[in-house]
Amino acid sequence: MEKTKALSKIGLFIFDPGGGFAQAVDLETVVQKLSKAKNVSRCEVVADILATGFLLSVKEDLRAGNLNRILWVGRFSPYQEKRIHADLSAEGLNPYLHEWCDVKEQGIGKKGLDRIVQTQKITILIQMAVARARLIEALEPLSLPAADAVLIIGAGVAGIHASSSLIKLGKRVYLIEKESGVGGKVASLHRLYPRICDPRCGLEFEIEKLRRSDKVEVHTLSRVKALDGSPRNFEVKIEKAPRYVSEERCNGCGKCAEVCPVTIPDDPRLHFPQNQDQSRKKAIHSPTPMAFSSAFVVERQHCPPQCRECVKACPAQAVELQQTPSEMTLRAGAIIATTGWDPYPLSKVEEYGYGLYPNVISNLEAERLLENPPELKEVGFIQCAGSRDERHLNYCSSVCCSASLKQALYLKERLPDSRFYIFYQDIRTPGFDEELYRQVKSLDNVIFIRGLPSTVKPDGENGRLKIRAEDTLSGKEVNIGLDLLVLAGGMAPSEGSGEIAERFNLPLNNYGFFESHLQCHPEESQRAGIYVGGACRGPMNVAQSIESSHRAMVEAMQFIDGTFLVEPTYPLVDKTKCDKCKRCMEDCSFSAYYFDAEGFPTPDLARCRQCGNCMGTCPITAISLRHFTIKQTAAQIQAIKVSSLPKEEPVILAFLCKNDAYHAAREAADSDVVIPPNVFFIKVPCAGSLNNALLADALSFGIDGILIAGCKDGQCHYVRGTQLVKTRSVDLSDKLKKMMIEPERIRFENIEIRDSKKYTELINSYMKDLKAMGPNPFRV
């Protein structure tokens, strides 16, 4: 750093098109003063920044070694910035050796401000920028090698579609599935709304693409056991349960199933009690729900001891009852979890009698009914069963209204003499699903009752059910007898998702689904390189699942295929200072830190989000973000010569988070509102990146008040930056009291991106409070 400082040769150019600055401030004096500053080799005002003559002269100076970095003062359009970068990089100037200082956003040139005051302020602002410019260094992005496959966990509709899209782009995929077949929950549905089409049609279409491709490996009966490695280079241990049938030799002829003496129940979650004896599934059966490869599977736990009927019957000798579980380790650059959902166990909604009466079934079980509807006279649907209910699932599963309407439509066609009752509190059919609602409403003998039943009771000995409810629209009591009751249950987080969350240390939200930044980055899991898609993110329908997993797939692609680029502005740990207290590790919201061979915390550059919270939290300032180091910020702070400003006016130094608070301040500066001139701000990557040492420094240099403005809680791009910096301030208060400085000289605020009004108000009120407090005792 010292070497850098000594060798810095700064070219300082003040861009003043139209002479606006020359009017507002005494530019000549400013230029004169700054030309004499240390390390400033050239200082002038430029009217046309892209003028050929000007750029040529700069290039000459660079070539001759008279300049090795440039400070641009003023407001530049993105086009101008790009041109400057491109032109001068041709001359070898590293993009990180440009420093940009927009004085306008700090209030220079605002109407009504005194010329002398503005001249003082612009001088200080430029001096701050020069102080930083002395210490910046050339940086190159890092190129890290990456594995070339994506691992997708869960071969339901989301996983299958993501896989088929990846292979279309020529990428390699491992698709892991815990069942013996693929297709997930969607494959167990009979029909999909709104077209009332067979879900297996669309699924088979995609699965066929996977079968034909040599770029995808599908592993059924497989579960993830452990995760190692890091983004671009994950090592995932998979455990494969034995199939007991050779995938190479079995051709799915089914002779084994014909002779198998054991019939087993269908999937208990999909098993319709009345159809119990209709199960045709044997202990050896074709993969469920949909076959990827045709090889059968044996459920050994049902086999009678010594029975070898299937082995004997198989013409291809494909049955291998001696198979054992196997393990394999797969290398992938990125992982996508598409682990779907599980139906909420409706037996928990005790008042509705699920599990007690055989003719109370779930909406998922009702799909089986659609295949072969028995003779039914009166069917009831209860919507929101166990949903939107603080005793069960406290959210709406968004698809059950449309699903029940689809079932009603389909069934009514096949049972024309029946009568349906739909008990609801709202019918939620968003968008084009409204048409479903209209269709069902127009049917005869389908009665909608706006009012939910309290209890389901048996109707005497005949097996029928009786339900009582208040039809809230008429205020009247209704008493209904039913042959069958369908409970429209909700979508709960799947067991598979829970497993993955634990194995991979992925945070879950309050509802048990993968936590993600819902609006801006719904595909993220808060762990770099691991994405989530489909219903494991939250209840959604088939189309939404496909869209969701595609978003995850696109993001995952940056971690595969050869190399992965890392911006060079990552944190560096100074091992000569670090005492391994691990605070950086604990405060990192992205678990990016790990212990290196010597036991020092080190950031995994593929996981790191470069938010700087580690830099903020290190009690001995051993960590700095490159291009935003503690020394650089300290130099900026020191350059604020408080002594040159009138003592009656408090000086506020504000640290504004670049995502939100900074924009609010800039909007305030660009508008007509009056902002006190003695406010200087520094843009930071995250409020949490501020180290207490810098704050103590600033106060010891005479700054009257410090403002730290970050994102609102729950909205931070880096999860909890403002929270972290607030918590740290407790440590700082003690230090400040020892220094005889009032702890009220540090204020924290949450500001949203367009809240320039709030920014202005709080600056003004802070000024008032500081005036009342008097100047900082350290201010000379």
Binding site: E390, G451, S454, T472
Partner: protein
């Protein structure tokens, strides 16, 4: 509703704004349709701030405090508690249903205030006396039956 807020706090009426009018409370209420009002309707009246309508409803005195409504509510609204609070309010404000003497309620509350406990025999007698001249004989027969079975202490 703004008007109702002050009352809500002074009489401790449990939260009712969060009710979505699903009707599960009425569906499980044993007396819901004995009068023109149901528990759901009472909550609806409160949401509108129609305090008098709620308090003058005969439903308030039919409620058996079985707590089915509160148990079934998906939003955690304590409807039984609301009815209780409204009963207190009517008493203290003197809003009484025309024709209703509230004899049993008053007798019960007064006895608790005086003695801190209920003597079922005394209570029964008091209520019977209040009902004079109607049905004293029936009540006496009932009292004797209960006493015999050890149901009166």
């Amino acid at each position: 509703m703004m008007r109702l807020d002050a009352e809500r706090h002074s009489y401790d009426i449990p939260e009712y704004s969060i009710c979505v009018q699903c009707g599960r409370c009425s569906a499980g209420c044993p007396v819901a349709f004995e009068s023109e009002h149901s528990p759901r309707k009472i909550v609806r009246f409160l949401q509108w701030g129609w305090l008098k309508e709620a308090c003058e409803s005969p439903f308030l005195w039919l409620c058996a405090s079985c707590q089915t409504c509160t148990a079934r509510c998906p939003r955690g609204v304590d409807i039984a508690g609301i009815v209780c609070a409204l009963r207190r309010m009517t008493q203290e404000r003197g809003w009484v249903m025309p024709g209703e003497k509230l004899s049993s309620y008053r007798a019960f509350i007064d006895m608790i205030k005086k003695k801190g406990r209920i003597s079922e025999l005394s209570l029964g007698l008091k209520v019977a006396l209040c009902k004079l001249p109607a049905h004293p004989v029936d009540d006496a027969v009932l009292a004797w039956k209960l006493l015999r079975r050890g149901r009166l202490k």
